[in-house]
């Protein structure tokens, strides 16, 4: 290999340092090749135009580096945030399901809802509503109907949360809002997600359908006068369903990463 002109060597070293402005993943993928291509390009330019050609190279490269590094940084933030937000929301939904399951277990053990637990009940609806958002974020690859279903499930659980807070504040209309939102719209949305999603394994399609169906059963049971134990059992099953549904956005992120 011929020895570099000192200015070419210096230019190359500066360029390699400047590559640091690109995201680490991008550098790992293309950094070495970019550096090699730039080096060859500098040598060719100096052969053809002399060292003054290096100024011309820097005029192009300076703007080019900054613009593309900025674009790659933005792309990385957009992709990472979408994935990490979906994972986080899914994990919160899972916690909501866990909380609902625990409430159900306590309910079964005590035989009725304990008044001390009432102020904490909205937390599981908030968590599950957040889980629905995660489902919505990751449902674009499942088809438009599934995305619509996730939106309906979110609106339902958001209504359920508001209704529950109104009930705790002993305001009118709270029960009706909780009933329509959490026990009607939310499960219908979940059933739609499971029934219309494309490209999901059977297990992941069945989970929201079963959870939605269980919630509708919960709605019917809640109208019965002595259905407390059954209500607790269904709450456990509903919570378990949501522990799994909360994993769906995480599953989708992993599947997309593998693809």
């Amino acid at each position: 290999m011929t020895r570099d002109n000192p200015l070419v060597a210096l230019t190359w070293q500066v360029y390699r340092l400047l590559l640091m402005i690109y995201p680490a993943n991008y550098r790992r993928e293309f950094g070495r090749e970019m550096s090699l291509a730039f080096h060859d390009y500098c040598r060719r330019t100096v052969r053809q135009k002399g060292v003054y050609g290096l100024f011309q190279i820097w005029l192009i490269t300076g703007v080019d580096l900054v613009a593309t590094a900025l674009m790659e940084r933005l792309t990385e933030v957009r992709e990472m945030s979408s994935h990490s937000v979906a994972r986080l929301l899914g994990a919160i939904g899972t916690l909501g399901g866990l909380y609902a399951a625990i409430v159900g277990v306590v309910w079964l053990a005590v035989g009725e809802q304990t008044p001390d637990s009432l102020p904490f009940l909205p937390f599981y609806t908030i968590a599950i509503a957040i889980g629905c958002l995660g489902l919505f974020l990751k449902s674009d690859s499942l088809g438009p109907d599934a995305r619509f279903g996730a939106a309906v499930a979110f609106i339902g659980m958001a209504m359920g949360t508001v209704g529950m807070v109104l009930m705790l504040l002993e305001q009118d209309g709270g029960w009706l809002m909780w009933f329509i939102g959490a026990l009607l719209l939310h499960p219908l949305g979940l059933i739609l997600v499971g029934a219309t999603s494309q490209g999901l394994p059977a297990f992941w399609k069945a989970t929201p359908i079963l959870t939605g169906a269980l919630t509708i059963a919960l709605m019917v049971i809640s109208l019965a006068p002595d259905g407390s134990w059954l209500f607790g059992l269904l709450m456990v099953l509903f919570g378990t369903g949501w522990i799994l549904i909360g994993q769906m956005p995480i599953f989708r992120v992993r599947a997309e990463a593998r693809a």
């Binding site: 293309f30 291509a37 490269t61 693809a259």
Partner: protein, 130 residues
């Protein structure tokens, strides 16, 4: 996911000049990044110079879109630089490049018909009816 065989290349048009020139360079055979830069610069008489950032940013997007792929085949060992990766057009990439070439050809034809290009030779080159 939709199979690439079913994708309509016209859905991706128009292409940016950089992307089209990269696809054109690869239509003439598989190349590594630097060879693409030189090819584009020489074919355009230096009017289009690809910076390394623009080139590899485009290569990343083209790989992701499935228009190009990394080639496993290596050239003659005497000419090969094993530190480099070679890229080639995929079937979808070739169809997109052809669709863009046809689109540009139709545009030039229309420009010629509108009197924006002078001389019959230009019209003939653009395929306009005499």
């Amino acid at each position: 996911m939709t199979s690439t065989a079913n994708q309509d290349p016209n859905d991706f048009l128009p292409l940016s000049p950089y992307v089209f020139h990269i696809l054109m360079a690869l239509a003439r055979g598989e190349k590594h990044g630097y060879a693409i830069m030189v090819d584009v610069e020489e074919r355009t008489d230096g009017r289009l110079v690809l910076g390394t950032g623009t080139l590899y940013s485009a290569i990343k997007r083209l790989l992701k879109a499935g228009w190009i792929e990394e080639s496993d085949e290596r050239p003659d060992p005497a000419l090969d630089d094993e530190r480099r990766r070679y890229y080639r057009l995929t079937e979808l990439g070739l169809r997109v490049a052809r669709a863009e070439a046809n689109r540009l050809s139709r545009t030039v034809h229309l420009a010629a018909q509108s009197g924006l290009l002078s001389g019959m030779a230009v019209l003939r080159r653009a395929g306009a009816p005499s």
